[in-house]
């Protein structure tokens, strides 16, 4: 017990205490420094202030916690006084100073080391009571108005300082949050890989919120569940865990799309069994949304039973959630773009076609393995060099550069010869296209397809074909010469033996003659057909009088027609006039049709009709109709094919090469026309040739 000092010296003590307090507070950097400066400054046994305590109200519980004390070295650390308990509860509740002259007479007094009097002064910041300064004396009724005044002044000073420090801390926290966001965004651009970004987000959230751990999950639209992609200090690695809708805290917010605080997780109905093996005390979770679309969920946990989540934490989490959502969305878009890029990249890399991309200066920007293989340059050797320096030769240089220039403007396509690194030449099909992105010309892309083998094969094929045509031409000439002798001498012999009166030999000589003629016709048809197939058959177009040609054909066919006792009716008016076409071929076709008609008709009638198509282009129509054996639909279907007389036996019965109609069909097509057949077995056949009156095929140079 310390006797009270004199009034004057007491005043001096009070002034000294206030000065100490002010000095201490000025140098304080945070709230605790201020509390300490306040209690230490006021601690003066001479004034009877034997114990001083700063009890600060905990916002979420309302409990008062001892943050600084003086005069009682053994005071329990973080001594907690529950809301409404203790003498200082009155000051905490009504915000005014309360004086208790004899603490022992108060029921609510919580025994401490003193048994005297106590003053409770509220600490008020911005109109709100944040705590109570408790000053105790060992003596009863040790305080007077002077004390109340100095203690109130001290409390006010401390309050002002606290307000200042809180303001600075808030500022700093906001700055930290801002920096955290910037860091998150920086992560987005530097490490755009989903799980990495999410790990960065949860790491930052855990640090920022001062929680023990947390998790981020993304929403799997396809499977309609959440997948945890990043976790930190939740007691186990939960990465990869899937949570259904309504399962656990994140499943709950994924359903409600609202944030959620769960004070005691293990008593919560919605808890997930997946967390039964770890210590989770309280949980705060929020959905990650883009607009109203769910992209994931974030959760933070306290494993310390003393810690609970408060509104302030939710505010912080709500600041993080949209950023995490954007991070997920961006990463998803990026991953998608990356996948697409890789997809196209692999197309280019695996393409058998050489692909090279050029900048605006024609310099090589990139090339694919097929390009490396085709031209023998590695990517390292090629990049940066002008393409045409690399693969064009002196005589293809200007052509190559023209392609490159043109391809900057529009797609070009061609065939050219380029040079490999080893000097060898390659024949290539070239495709050049401009590369334009968002309307901006970036360069061009060149595609080279190696056609060396193709061209070689074509040259060989052409040479072989030419050799074949030459062979056929030679062959037919060589065959025809002895045939001419056979045909000519047999015919001559017939005349001679008749003159000599040896008529019995005539039929045999006639057979030799007929067989020779047939063989010759075969050779000629085969030659025609092979010329057509080889594209060597040429058209000789001329203007000619159709009626004159018809008379000539009818006269030529007369012996054939008479042979089977048939009757030929020709209808060709003078009005048909002239036509332009290949006279020899038209005649050959008509003779072939008349010859066929005569062969397959006996004692019947054959019509040869010519007319101009009255409607349309005035095409010439030639029609040969007979009353012969006709054809079944199956026979009709094959009649224009080479070597396809209706039946194999037909050729033996009726003669002919079986090539005439195949040749006629191709002749008609060459002249821009066609040939058609109508027939009925046992009734007869009608062949109709339709030719443009003015064939438009260019006359070949002679």
């Amino acid at each position: 017990m310390t006797p009270r000092t004199s009034r004057r010296s007491a005043q001096a003590h009070r002034q000294a205490a206030l000065l100490r307090l002010t000095t201490g507070i000025v140098s304080a950097h945070n709230e605790d420094d201020i509390y300490h400066a306040m209690v230490d400054g006021l601690h003066d046994e001479a004034l009877g202030y034997s114990f001083l305590g700063a009890f600060i109200i905990e916002p979420d519980t309302g409990d008062r916690v001892l943050r600084a004390s003086a005069g009682w070295p053994d005071a329990p650390e973080s001594w907690r006084v529950h809301k409404g308990e203790g003498l200082s509860a009155r000051a905490a509740e009504d915000g005014t100073l309360h004086y208790t002259a004899d603490v022992t007479r108060e029921a609510s007094y919580l025994p401490s080391r003193v048994r005297g009097s106590e003053v409770d002064i509220p600490l008020r910041v911005d109109g709100e009571t944040i705590g109570v300064l408790v000053v105790e004396s060992d003596e009863r009724d040790a305080f007077d108005d002077q004390d109340f005044e100095i203690l109130s002044a001290a409390a006010d000073q401390a309050a002002i300082a606290i307000a200042r420090v809180r303001l600075i801390e808030a500022e700093r926290r906001r700055a930290d949050e801002h920096k955290a966001l910037l860091d998150t965004l920086a992560d987005l651009s530097s490490e755009l890989e989903l799980s990495r970004v999410l790990q960065a987000v949860i790491d930052r959230a855990v640090t920022q919120l001062g929680v023990s751990g947390g998790e981020v999950a993304i929403w799997d639209e396809e499977r309609q569940d959440l997948v945890i992609l990043a976790s930190r200090s939740v007691g186990k690695d939960s990465t990869g865990t899937r949570l259904k809708l309504d399962e656990g805290a994140m499943g709950a917010v994924a359903r409600s799309l609202e944030p959620l605080i769960i004070p005691s997780y293990h008593e919560w109905m919605g808890r997930s069994e997946k967390y039964s093996d770890i210590t989770v005390h309280s949980v705060m979770a929020a959905p990650l949304l883009i607009g109203r679309r769910l992209v994931g969920a974030i959760a933070t946990v306290h494993s310390d039973p003393e810690r609970v989540f408060v509104e302030e934490d939710l505010r912080l989490l709500n600041m993080f959630a949209p950023q995490a959502a954007i991070a997920i969305e961006n990463a998803r878009l990026y991953t998608e773009a990356q996948r697409q890029r890789q997809y196209f990249e692999s197309l280019v890399q695996n393409s058998p076609v050489a692909i090279v991309s050029l900048g605006l200066g024609h310099e090589i920007v990139s090339c694919n393995p097929a390009f490396e293989r085709l031209f023998g340059y590695s990517t390292e050797e090629a990049v940066g060099r002008p393409l045409d320096d690399l693969i064009s030769t002196a005589d293809t240089r200007s052509e190559a550069e023209a392609y490159t220039r043109e391809a900057l403007d529009h797609a070009v396509h061609g065939i050219g010869r380029r040079r490999r690194k080893d000097g060898a030449f390659v024949d290539v099909e070239i495709l050049g296209v401009p590369v334009v992105v968002d309307g901006e010309q970036l360069g061009l892309m060149g595609l080279y397809h190696d056609i060396t083998e193709l061209l070689e094969a074509r040259r060989e094929a052409e040479a072989a074909n030419s050799a074949k045509s030459q062979f056929l031409a030679n062959m037919s000439h060589e065959l025809r010469t002895p045939l001419n002798a056979i045909i000519g001498y047999s015919e001559m012999l017939q005349e001679e033996v008749e003159e000599l009166g040896q008529s019995a030999l005539v039929p045999d000589l006639g057979k030799i003659h007929t067989a020779g003629r047939h063989l010759l016709a075969l050779i000629n048809d085969v030659l025609d057909l092979s010329k057509i197939e080889a594209g060597k058959m040429e058209l000789f177009l001329e203007e000619f009088d159709v009626r004159k040609m018809i008379d000539d054909v009818a006269a030529t066919a007369r012996p054939l027609i008479d042979k089977n006792a048939n009757r030929l009716e020709v209808r060709c008016g003078a009005e048909v006039g002239d036509m332009r076409g290949d006279l020899t071929k038209v005649r050959q076709m008509l003779l072939n049709l008349l010859s066929n008609a005569s062969k397959f008709t006996t004692g019947g009638r054959i019509d040869l009709e010519v007319e101009r198509d009255s409607n349309g282009d005035g095409a010439m129509i030639f029609r040969v109709r007979d009353t012969g054996i006709g054809m079944t639909p199956e026979q009709q279907a094959r009649v224009f094919e080479a070597f396809s007389q209706a039946e194999a036996s037909t050729a033996r019965r009726f003669g002919g090469t079986g090539l005439g109609l195949a040749i006629s069909k191709r002749f008609c097509e060459m002249m821009g026309g066609g040939i058609e057949l109508e027939s009925e077995a046992g009734v007869g056949s009608t062949f109709t040739i339709r030719l443009p009156a003015n064939a438009a095929v260019a006359e070949p140079q002679t």
Binding site: H477, T481, A485, M492, G516, N524, L539, F540, T584, T702
Partner: protein, 131 residues
Amino acid sequence: MAKILLVEDNEMNRDMLSRRLERKGYQVEMAVDGRQGVDKAKTMAYDLVLMDMSLPEIDGWEATRELRADPATKDLPIIALTAHAMSGDREKALEAGCNDYDTKPIELSRLLGKMEALLGGAAPAAEPGGA
């Protein structure tokens, strides 16, 4: 009696056609290539030339052009003989200056018709007997 020049490199064709024409009453002389054909046609007087088109030395078309270029033979009737009735052969022969055209193997009656049309009165009046 009409005097015919047969320009033909193939011996059998020459033999066959000359004998058949002679049996029909024509006087036939022969040349074995284009050059000889042109020389004979220019130095002797013929009523008609039967000209094969594929000939050694100079071909039938060239020989015809040469004869047409010479005032002495520019009106001499020439019938082209080709191996096959191919488009182009006929046109080429007529372009070169041939009066007519026939294809081998020769169908005698058809050829005689064409010859008579060109010879007019100079055709043989009667057939001599035998070869």
